[in-house]
Structures are given as C-alpha cells and as structure tokens.
Symmetry: C2
Subunit: 140 residues, 2 copies
C-alpha cells in the first residue's frame, strides 16, 4: 500500500461566498490582498497579473516560487474562486487563505485541500538527470 | 434539494506523470504549449508569465478571460501539475488538457473536474448592483 497524502504541494481550493461585492470589483484591493496572502503564507513572489472585466469582475494571478495564488471574482454574486497552491515545508497556504477571507469579508467559505504530486518522488527518483550533469560525468 | 454541478466554471485539476523531462524543463516549449491549450480550449488570452527555476523546473500561467491555465513542472520526477479553469459555455477545458497531455508526452494522467461557484447565481442574483447603475437610477 502506497502512502497517501505525501506529495510535492498543497493546493487549497476555496469558494468564498457572501463577500463584499465592492471589494470583489476593486482590482487594486484584490491585487493588494493576493500579494499580502503571498507574503503571509511565506511565499516568494515571482510575477503577477490582474485584470478588471467589463462590466464587473476581477481575475488575478500571483506566480510564486512555491507555485501560485489565483482569484476570479463575481461581484454580482458576492462570490470569489480562490486557489492557494504552495510547495515545500516553509510555506503555509492556509495563512494566505485566511488573509483573503478577511480582506474580502467572506461570510461563508468552503475549502478543499488537494495534495499534488503524490508519491512522485518515490516512484520517479532518478528518472531524469539534467543533461549538463550527464555531460559532466561523460567528460570527467 | 439544490441542484448539484450547476456552477460558474469548470476547474480541471490534472496530474501528468511520466512526461518527457526535457520538455518539462524547457520554458519556451511549456509556454507555447499552454498558449496552444488556451487557443484550443477556445479561451481568450489576457496575459501570461513563465519562469524557469534553477537547477530545473518551470512554472507558468496564462490568465484568460475565462479564468486561467497553470502549470508547475518537476522534470526530475517527470511530473507536471496542470490546472485548466474555464468559465462559460464557449470554452472546453478538456481540449486544452488534451493539448498539454500530448505536448508534454504524459504516459499517465489523473484528472479531477471541480465545478466552481455552484448555485451562486440562484442564491445571489440581485445581491449586488454596480454603483454606477444605482447612481444612474437615482439621477434619472
């Protein structure tokens, strides 16, 4: 029997309901919130992109060294789809989610945590060696 | 009993195993593959960002008008964590996933489809009116 739940990353999928709709429609506040979530979860920001739709709604993405944080909002329904996906032991995606829950003033939330890359380390260790390492071995 | 599975978006979470590790480590090919996945799923690209890690691994996302497509690769394990999240009736996230599966040469794949924003339309219709519309009503 393989160990279950031992993987490369934790992917939190959160449904935020009954949020403050004006906040959900404010691209600047959404951007600040996701960047704060990245910092609070102890992630390292690589890049980000945010977009406000017409007539309303915001989508945004923060690429972090440990994977990503994303959001898509529907102000007309007070709803936001949030993902906080982090890898490694140093980060805590739940802390990032807590920031978003508070900043968006979600009154109701459902959450699922999915472990990504389960057992790949065990199964594929040694599967691939970077080419330059192989070259180095050939040359020495 | 509420209807189940009627939501705003389809979020496909795919685990791609036994991929071509050289492809997983090639940021340009990964970028092309995700952009092709966006087009093939009939999505509209808003922005994107891709990053290659040292010593290996690639992370990237394509922010689309219909949500996002993201990837995080571990060439050393032949593994990629892929998300294809689309909204609306015009897009087909499964076609996007098919592109990625083929381009990354995944020999094994596990997939989960999560419906995001279930029942929010029913529950929150009329919850919020954009401020300018309310103003217009007041002014006229």
């Amino acid at each position: 029997m393989k160990r279950v739940g031992v993987g490369l990353g934790k992917h939190i999928i959160a449904e935020l309901f009954e949020c403050d709709s004006d906040i959900l429609d404010n691209v600047n506040v959404i951007k600040e919130s996701l960047l704060e979530a990245a910092t609070t979860s102890n992630s390292t920001v690589i890049n980000y992109s945010f977009h406000r739709f017409k007539p309303y709604g915001v989508s945004g993405y923060v690429l972090i060294a440990e994977s990503h944080i994303s959001i898509h909002t529907w102000p007309e329904y007070g709803y936001a789809a949030v993902d906080v996906f982090t890898c490694g032991d140093k980060t805590n995606p739940w802390k990032g989610l807590e920031v978003l829950k508070n900043r968006l003033k979600a009154k109701r939330i459902t959450v699922m945590e999915i472990t990504r890359g389960v057992n790949v380390e065990k199964e594929y260790n040694g599967y691939w060696k970077p080419r330059r390492r192989i070259l180095r071995e050939v040359l020495t």
